[in-house]
């Protein structure tokens, strides 16, 4: 397992939703929502990347594409050299064992009618792990996520656990087959602040110990910074900036990233209150502006931004999709 092998490679991935039925397509311009519109990036084995952006920017859709919960409508995605778009049958099941998802809402990610034991044995059944081994692996997984005395939880139902405990069960389920690649979709956003730190620490610790390659999806830059050393900033289905998290926090390049970093409030009194370098409007996925999708709110926009879509270009330690660079 040499560490600079590229485990995940995404090339020009696209996920377009046709809004309105086929009939409407016949008659008029059927409005298409481009949830993911030409995203390309690569992940080395053991690397952790934050996928950062506001709601509707396509970060969750990108996660679902990687886990094949949605089928890409364009571009390719490779896992360990194998294309996963169109993967089926036994090959898909193998991929499933290697790539897992940690869900945002623990209360929704576990079937309320299943005991914790049943919840955790489902992946084991699918991987055809012999019955007698399952109890042991379930206990190991729960201990891995630092759930105290796991034995007492096995017969309990989800509504009898707290948010923090349930999120640990969701993590245990994702890790029980020792996957190589994990996508965490805002795993702590539903939890109280005092409980979040505990779950995040477990995630960081487990990722390092198992050498997992991870994508951490979030709208909260401060949390991403705590977990990933690299961050990709997305807006309206496209990548605006991709690079080391510390550089992005201290010296954001793309105008959108600048506004995003400046907008984050900090938990102590002395912070700047000067207005954000960004126009007011809200991004409308149904009809994004031509050329650069951010140009209608960008203080530096000039004519080229409207005519030509900016490609991701190397700029120092980062890649930026902006004509300023």
């Amino acid at each position: 397992m040499d560490s600079n092998e590229t485990l995940v490679s995404v090339r020009n991935a696209q996920l377009h939703y046709g809004v309105g039925g086929a009939l409407q397509a016949l008659r008029g311009r059927s409005s298409v929502v481009k949830a993911v519109d030409g995203v390309s990036f690569e992940l080395k084995r053991g690397e952790s990347v934050g996928l950062l952006g506001e709601s509707g920017c396509g970060k969750t859709s990108m996660g679902r594409l990687l886990l094949k919960l949605e089928e890409a409508t364009g571009g390719e995605i490779f896992f360990a050299g194998q294309p996963i778009v169109g993967l089926r049958g036994a090959a898909l099941r193998q991929y499933r064992a290697k790539a897992q998802l940690i869900f945002q809402n623990p209360f929704d990610a576990v079937n309320p009618r299943f005991t914790i034991r049943a919840t955790l044995s489902e992946p084991l059944e699918n991987a055809k792990i012999p019955v007698r081994e399952r109890e042991g692996r379930i206990i190991d997984a729960l201990e891995l996520v630092r759930l105290p005395q796991p034995q007492q939880f096995l017969n309990r139902y989800p509504h009898q656990l707290s948010g923090g405990q349930l999120q640990r069960v969701v993590m245990a389920r994702a890790l029980i087959l020792q996957p190589e690649f994990v996508v965490a979709d805002e795993p702590v956003s539903m939890l109280d602040v005092s409980v979040r730190a505990g779950v995040l620490n477990v995630f960081r610790d487990v990722r390092d110990r198992l050498g997992l390659t991870a994508i951490y999806i979030s709208h909260d830059l401060a949390l991403v910074r705590y977990v990933c050393e690299r961050t990709i900033v997305m807006y309206l289905g496209r990548i605006m900036e991709d690079g080391p998290t510390e550089d992005i926090v201290h010296e954001p390049l793309h105008p959108y990233t600048r506004a995003l970093v400046a907008a984050v409030p900090v938990p102590h009194p002395d912070q700047s209150h000067d207005p954000l370098p960004i126009g007011r409007g809200a991004p409308d996925p149904r009809n994004p502006p031509s050329g650069c999708v951010f140009r209608d709110r960008c203080p530096y926009a000039f004519d080229r931004c409207a005519s030509e879509v900016p490609q991701l270009r190397q700029a120092g330690t980062r890649r930026v999709a902006c004509h300023l660079f």
Binding site: G20, Q24, R27
Partner: protein, 325 residues
Amino acid sequence: MPHLKAAANRALQFALVLWAVVTILFLMFRLMPGNPMAAYIDPTFTVEQQQALMAQFGLDKPLWEQYIIYLGNLLQGELGQSFRYREPVAERIITLLPNTLILTFSSLIIAYAFGILAGAYLAWRRGSTVENIAVPLVLTTRSMPEFWLGMVLLAVFSFWLGWFPAGGTRSAGTSYDSLWALYTSGEFLRYLTLPALTLAIYSQGLPLLLMRSNMLDVMKEDFVTMARIKGLSPWTVVVRHAARNALLPVMTSFAIAVGYQLQGNVVVESVFSWPGLGRELVNAVSASDYPLVQGAFLLIAMVVILMNLVADLLYGFLDPRVSHA
């Protein structure tokens, strides 16, 4: 603009469903056991009449050819001759349609007026003894065979108290030059009361329970709480905001209720010997007058399908979230 597209879409579906029901009817009559010719020709017809009908409906041709002719005739309103009345089916059922419609709409208007008010009141008096008595009572009216209810009302108000006539739409011997004259004559109301009341008692359960359950849902909504926090009067909160929202699905259910009510008419018209489409269908089936059976059934089905379409359009029209998408 999207609203028109949706309407066009619905109209297309309407045509499709109508075509399907017409085809089912055609197949049912052609594939019926015994002699398919009997679908249009009665042995007592004169030979010339039989030849004319044979040619007109292509009864000697292969099935699919008959089907084309059948559709062609249908579009021109040509439904064949009634065996019993020796007159075109189309004319007969058209003259009977108003009787059925006036019975359906008069009873439904009473049912919906009462149901909406009672439903709103019961929702307001949630958990009170009134509710604990009223709701089971309403359920009993939903469990009542309509014709039995008609029999009881007839036995009490007609035969025992003599307040209302026992059936029909006018006293024997009187004649009216037009339907309008009949409908507006004072006497007609006395004939209409019992059958309309029978149907109304049965069908008021739906709007009542629907309104009550919608009101209970809407009262929990944030904008109702906000209305109270704004200090608006209880009347404004309950009527202008809660009821107005709760009314939306109830109004759309009115159109569908007409479709369901048409079925109820079949038995109630028989009990009150009310000269409508329902009774005509029953008598035609008893007399094996197949062309009349086809015609009556078809007209009822068309009204039902039309009403389903009206319900869809009403839903889009009434709710601004759909009409102003």
